[in-house]
Symmetry: C2
Subunit: 277 residues, 2 copies
């Protein structure tokens, strides 16, 4: 399935002069649709808003995008779960990095089938490796979901087998930051820790949801810098993303975790309640 | 003027599912056309080849691209000077960072008018500022001209006035790397120095041409790391890029250079001889 709306029009091509293609000059959100509604829409919109601010890009009109999303949802009424991806670029322009004050933003909405992840990734956990491709640091781009994704691409393509379900990315100095498509959390003595993302990494919408959820449940949660060995000494590890929610980690490099931890399980149970209501 | 050929077809739109748009997953070359011929084509092709290797992307067929360039040149016979830009992306694909072994590369060729730079930029020099946007370091991406250009975009848009013609970008640790659209060279005691680009920056085709030209002329030239103050203590400074060739620097931040230096002048004269033959 792919429905595509570009600036509200049903079409599936854009101009080669769009800055999204020319320079990766834009942002995106990959969103779960459950029962005809975007899951965690407010959090996605909030991240997009912050991204536009960081890139000095005008924020598109929220109501317009909501109407366009409704159009796609109407068309897919028979689907229980699928994905809507929103791309916002700085629009079509003349050659050159400079942009004018009058930016004609391009809005692209596409729908995609729900990914077919085995249920065991949640209930039994996934195996994770460390990637050699490092994440570079730039505080202006840290946290936002921009279209410059070569580092994640190179990292994700370091392995091809099904032995690992995710790869963790580190800075040059060896701090663990996030997965190629997820954020990581560690539990130690019933306290949750997750890497701080002030210099690099993507601040996932599910990451934020889990931070808020933990606080609501009275579980202490902190952002900090992480080494590999600190991660491997945790009692529980789990990954989050907007689509799969929470995956427990059963193996990281050579360290094994024998079962899904209690804190992870609790969060998985509570997440179900707030996710698709 | 914009002629566009996509995979050899005359059209000017690409699929929204192209990885060039989705993730900036590709490379580009911006090339000067003089008298119906691409200037420094071999050097452009060599950089593209290296870029494809670094991104694990198949190299497109050289002859095919040369034929497509010829088509555009034939159509623009009446133009003495213009630009052809080549973009190569990893092609259309399903959502996700992972790529398959069978990548259907997208080739995009566009023609653009020659930029209208005043002659004085060469003969009298330009004013240069330092940018606040830093360049992040990743040895896998260093040197190549990939489509992830948000850092250059943010840097170029730090100033809007005509007071400065270029901005220099530094690493977090304060090393000068390159300009937003050019490379920088410093002359001290008749020896030329240019920042080494092993961790970041774009290895310009003109940069390489100047390095080779200097060697041919018997002038010593070295790559090294640079601080701002080392740069400001140089006898001569100049910028290079494929389109404008060599611009002398007459002012950097608060440091002024009274006239175009002898080494710069010599290189400008020699470059003319090899550039558009």
């Amino acid at each position: 399935m792919t429905d595509t709306l570009i600036n509200g029009e049903i079409k599936n091509t854009i101009s080669v002069l769009d800055r999204g293609l020319q320079y990766g000059d834009g942002l995106f959100e990959t969103m779960a649709v459950c029962n005809g509604k975007i899951s965690l829409w407010d959090a996605h919109w909030e991240r997009l808003t912050y991204g536009c601010k960081q890139l000095s890009m005008p924020l598109p009109d929220k109501e317009t995008i909501e109407k366009e999303i409704d159009l796609i949802c109407d068309k897919n009424k028979d689907q229980i779960k699928y994905i809507i991806k929103l791309i916002v670029t700085r629009g079509e322009a003349e050659r050159g990095y400079r942009f004018s004050n009058e930016q004609n933003i391009t809005r692209i909405l596409t729908s995609h089938s729900w990914p077919d992840y085995p249920k065991e990734y949640q209930t039994e956990g996934v195996a994770v490796r460390y990637c050699e491709t490092t994440l570079s640091e730039n505080k202006r781009l840290a946290g936002i979901k921009h279209l410059n994704r070569l580092e994640q691409i190179l990292a994700r393509n370091e392995w091809d087998s099904d032995e690992f379900q995710e790869g963790l990315m580190l800075t040059i100095s060896g701090d663990v930051v996030d997965g190629t498509m997820s954020n990581i959390f560690a539990v130690k003595d019933n306290i949750i820790f997750t890497p701080s993302l002030t210099l690099c990494g993507v601040a996932g919408v599910m990451r934020k949801t889990i931070i808020n959820l933990s606080k609501d449940l009275g579980i202490s949660i902190f952002e900090k810098t992480f080494t590999k060995s600190e991660l491997e000494q945790a009692d529980e590890l789990f990954l989050t993303n907007s689509l799969f929610g929470i995956w427990s980690v059963r193996k990281i490099a050579k360290t094994r975790f024998t079962k899904v931890g209690e804190v992870t399980k609790k969060l998985q149970e509570e997440l179900v309640k707030i996710r698709c209501k």
